[in-house]
Symmetry: C2
Subunit: 336 residues, 2 copies
DNA sequence: CTGAAAGCGCTAACAA
DNA sequence: TTGTTAGCGCTTTCAG
């Protein structure tokens, strides 16, 4: 068996209670005793059993993270930042990835509930009811999903979408294709909201296409449809779809951005590596992960009943896939 | 407080011991009693506290995974598969990412040790001594790192490297640049071993360049050096470096594969998306993750003293970045 | 087949 | 300032 608090007590010639105190509430023990205990602990290589501690304190020192897909770079970016932030506070993190079933996410939360102090749930596809119910099982923070009463770290997808359209309009585009992604997600709804706002504001023609799979293949398929749509720009659902679009356009001999502008969403590492480098919306995934974890941790202590809800700003990154539309640039006429 | 075994016992009109048995060793309780208990448990939504159980059984039902970098798609691929495999066996997984310090990995193992039944350590950069010492703290399985006495799931990097050279030689290349990556890693040593073997076998000229950072920028830098080296092919350390090479060659107007062949290593998703699609070595990351977890789990039960060590095969995937060298193909002369 | 009781490693009153 | 004791939620002898 591993070494326990009792071994340390024996070696330091004190009771287990004193060892416990020396470790958790050092001020409550005489300096000399404390150092003796600490010395004994180090010599023995003692590491408290957090599970046992949790049993009595009700605090496990663990948090959980549930993501829709551990293979998706969007979520691993969040995970990385979240894990780092948690480690900073000496919290360990459980991770679980749902796969097919949207209800899985909720199950995962329940499965973790007893072993963690709280769970960060990323972009759950579950229904509001399911999420609310899961929130009953443990302390919850949502990421990229909004639900009244549950703390959330949100990404301003609407703002990002607006910036994209603003940019395209500024370049002179008047008719652009919008490639839709999976309909269900909250973030997609946000993005569409931003698109709608921009459309209203500028009076641009936004040609809705899709939905397409958020994949390279989805992008290649979408490109052909967009090409048939008499547009001068394509707003893809995300970077990966955009890369498919780019590839297909190249195959079909359509110069980008000369004949066609293309934008992505996410600014994943490879957006920069596309050729040409992709104009896209940078989404602060790492910041979101950090923030969400910070909210979770803060929620453990603070008992104020307010439900924090922070929206992280997105930012358009202009690279080389956007340019004025071909032909003579028609002067823009804004709505009166 | 959450609902405990006692609540279930009360509701089912039995003792807590019976509830425990009904849940863990169903055969030991009368069918009728069992169903009564199970019903009560379901009605109450009871979920046993695994930490408390672990305290007494010595089994936590958790495993840990330590990776060098949670942002690296190589490791998240492993993580995804490992997590899935663990979930299958109803194990939850802790995840931690080391960052700078190689010794961090060992610390992470120790930090997890008490909360898990075993840890999967991916490609640790620590010294043999450090790893061996960590293996003392808990049940360990290594991935992509070999150490006598510790079970390991290995990737056949040497074989992959040999396949690359075989392929290039078969195409007629006689002088190829090899871009080195971080020297320290075990997997890099393996790859170099494969290269050396192939060189000895074929008598090809292998021009060692580097080391370079395993990044896009590293690749662009490397490309220029390779170009100056009078070679007809470039073997990059990994896919990402290869994509940098590709980009730089395009910028410099060198047709691939017409004037220069390029290979990667890893077959990450975007290898296929490169333009042209990258010839590379497929590494069974998911299989490795699954296997490693399976080994870990198996090790918990079996008490045979043998130390499993499985080597997963890699496989060359020929796409469009390799072709015969330019100019008249000189007939190959193998060594006598 | 079932219950009573001990105890896993630890913390939190309560005394001393 | 320190030790004694109870007990967190659970499993596991040991009786019955």
């Amino acid at each position: 068996m591993a070494i326990t608090i009792r071994d340390v007590a024996r070696r330091a010639q004190v009771s287990v209670a004193t060892v416990s105190r020396a470790l958790t509430t050092p001020d409550l023990v005489r300096a000399e005793t404390r150092s003796r205990v600490l010395a004994a602990a180090t010599e023995l290589g003692y590491r408290p059993n957090r599970a046992a501690r949790g049993l009595i304190t009700g605090r496990t020192g663990n948090i959980g993270i549930v993501v829709p897909d551990l293979g998706d770079p969007v979520f691993t970016a969040v995970l990385k930042a979240a894990q780092a932030r948690a480690a900073q506070a000496d919290y360990a993190v459980f991770v679980a990835g749902g796969d097919e079933d949207p209800a899985t996410e909720v199950k995962l939360v329940h499965a973790m509930a007893k072993q963690v102090d709280g769970v960060l749930v990323c972009a759950p596809a579950s229904t509001d009811e399911q999420v609310a119910e899961a929130a009953g099982a443990t302390s919850l923070v949502l990421l990229d999903r909004d639900l009244p009463g549950v703390p959330a770290a949100l990404l301003d997808g609407a703002g990002g979408a607006e910036q994209v359209v603003d940019h395209l309009v500024a370049l002179g585009h008047r008719r652009v294709a919008v490639l839709d992604g999976p309909r269900a997600s909250w973030s997609n709804r946000q993005r569409r909201r931003g698109l709608a706002a921009a459309r209203a504001r500028h009076g641009v023609d936004l040609v809705d296409l899709g939905p397409f799979a958020p994949s390279y293949e989805g992008g290649t398929r979408a490109a052909d449809l967009a090409l048939a749509g008499d547009v001068t720009a394509i707003v893809a659902y995300d970077d990966i779809m955009a890369s498919g679009v780019l590839a297909r356009l190249r195959d079909r001999g359509v110069p980008v951005p000369g004949e066609m502008s293309v934008t992505g969403f996410g600014d994943l590492p490879y957006a920069e590596l596309c050729s040409p480098p992709l104009t896209t919306v940078a989404v602060p995934l790492a910041a979101a992960g950090r923030t969400a974890v910070a909210m979770l941790l803060a929620g453990f202590d603070a008992q104020d009943a307010d439900v924090p809800r922070v929206v992280l700003p997105t930012r358009l990154v202009v690279r080389s896939t956007t340019a004025p539309p071909p032909g003579p640039v028609r002067p823009r006429r804004d709505q009166p």
